[in-house]
């Protein structure tokens, strides 16, 4: 197999820049997803009237439609009604819209795993509702949710690969351009795979480490 190494070296700067874009999108997407997910799960856990229904509708809408279509709506659809967002903004909003519902479900499963008797035990030593949530419910919920939260983070970072469809110059987009211009298909794709691995593997390892640390108390190793 003869790889064109000169081509690989020459296109490195382009990839580096695109990787940076992908990481930024991933970072903001994951961060907002966590925030949205957390708020939604709190609404569901405390069964807040009206908001609860809105959250349910949001979750179903977000989980049962493809990200690509959500992005098209944000990028092409909203322009038609006079809201013009930059492609980066659309990408981050799209990712957060999708990720938020996945994170909400992850958090919710954690909340639901906290047993009623642990809550009563907290009440019996005089904890207030806020203290109960802070010292008992959240830590226990988190240690149950953390594996799915981690999986969602990786999933979202990988999902960034379709934002090229709305003209964001991410890794996928750069790769397609290079293939189109130079026909160095194999080299371009190989670099794409390697760069995704270089980004996601450390994230995976960090998450595994975090998971162990958080779950040690309740589940051991």
């Amino acid at each position: 197999m003869n790889l064109n190494w000169q081509f690989i070296i020459d296109s490195l700067p382009l990839y580096r820049e695109a990787a940076w874009t992908t990481l930024k999108l991933g970072f903001w997407g994951i961060l907002f997803s966590l925030m949205i997910g957390f708020i939604c799960s709190i609404v569901l856990y405390f069964k807040v009237k009206v908001l609860k229904t809105i959250v349910h509708i949001y979750i179903e809408l977000s989980r049962n439609t493809p990200l690509l279509i959500q992005l098209f709506f944000l990028y092409f659809g909203l322009t038609k009604v006079g809201i013009a967002l930059t492609e980066t903004a659309c990408a981050i909003i799209g990712l957060s819209f999708l990720g938020g519902s996945y994170m909400a479900e992850a958090f919710r499963s954690g909340f639901e795993a906290v047993s009623k008797t642990q809550i009563e035990s907290g009440l019996s030593i005089g904890l207030s509702k806020t203290q109960l949530v802070r010292y008992v419910v959240l830590p226990q919920a988190f240690s149950v949710s953390i594996p799915s939260i981690g999986a969602n983070c990786i999933f979202l970072l990988k999902e960034t690969s379709i934002v090229g469809a709305i003209a964001v110059v991410d890794l996928m987009n750069v790769t397609k351009d290079l293939i189109g211009m130079y026909y160095q298909t194999l080299e371009a794709l190989l670099m794409l795979v390697v760069i995704y691995l270089v980004m996601i593997l450390p994230l995976s390892l960090i998450l595994t480490w975090l998971e162990r640390k958080v779950r040690y108390a309740e589940f051991g190793n």
């Binding site: 008797t117 642990q118 240690s143």
Partner: protein, 249 residues
């Protein structure tokens, strides 16, 4: 054991409790004096545990009154967070916080709820842990302890709040037989110190040894309240006789 000044700590008057259509407690009247050990006996599902849970504000009641130091606990504006610091409770399944070490479990209430000095509580916790023979387990997680150990820790956790009354809800019911004793010994020790206690149990010989007063409940009603020796030798009601017979082989 102790019958000191007849200062009434807890008074239950005409307590009525139902789940949906099922009446669980029906016109329960009982008063507990300071330093008194009251053991509640009765067949499964008779409402014993529910009664204890009502006294800790874990169940809403539909009628009657519960008074602690002559203050009603039925009013809407009752501050249970305050009351629960005086009425400690230990559960059948220990319910230590699974994500915290033993010492963290014990410190949580005194430090966060009662805002006491951490070092002072730590000292008290060490003493109590030492007394139940578990000082060396203070940095363990609950999953690393046996049932009997967990239950002794749960008792220490409740005691560290310096409660005036302790409620024990079938605290040995989930334990292996050889671990029952270590927990009962701790409770017996508390009785000797004059702790006011309300104990729900199925351990009859323990009940006889520890109780100042036996309350026998059946189908949500108090059938009899007697002196322990009298209850075990000459139960007044037929239902109590029937209940006691079931325990004899």
């Amino acid at each position: 054991m102790h019958k000191e000044a007849n200062e009434v700590l807890l008074e239950i008057k005409g307590l009525f409790k139902k789940y949906d259509d099922m009446t669980v407690l029906d016109d329960v009247n009982l008063s507990i004096n300071k330093g008194e050990v009251v053991v509640i006996l009765g067949p499964s599902g008779c409402g014993k545990s529910t009664l204890l849970r009502c006294l800790n504000g874990l169940e809403k009641i539909q009628g009657g009154d519960i008074r602690y130091r002559n203050k009603s606990l039925v009013d809407k504006d009752v501050n249970w967070q305050e009351i629960r610091q005086h009425i400690g409770m230990v559960f059948q399944n220990y319910e230590l916080f699974s994500h915290m070490t033993v010492i963290e479990n014990i410190l949580l209430g005194p430090v966060k709820v009662q805002k006491r000095d951490k070092n002072e509580v730590m000292e008290q916790a060490n003493q109590l842990l030492d007394r139940v023979g578990l000082l060396d387990r203070k940095d363990s997680y609950p999953r690393q302890l046996s049932g009997g150990q967990k239950q002794r820790i749960a008792i220490v956790r409740a005691l560290c709040m310096n409660p005036e009354i302790m409620l024990f809800d079938e605290v040995t019911a989930s334990l292996d037989p050889e671990m029952v004793r270590e927990v009962l010994d701790v409770i017996l020790g508390l009785a000797k110190q004059g702790m006011t206690m309300l104990i729900v149990t199925h351990e009859l010989s323990f009940a006889r040894a520890v109780a100042d007063k036996i309350v026998f409940i059946d189908k949500g009603k108090i059938c009899e309240i007697s002196d322990p020796d009298e209850f075990f030798t000459h139960p007044k009601t037929e239902r109590a006789q029937h209940f006691l017979n079931k325990f004899q082989y």
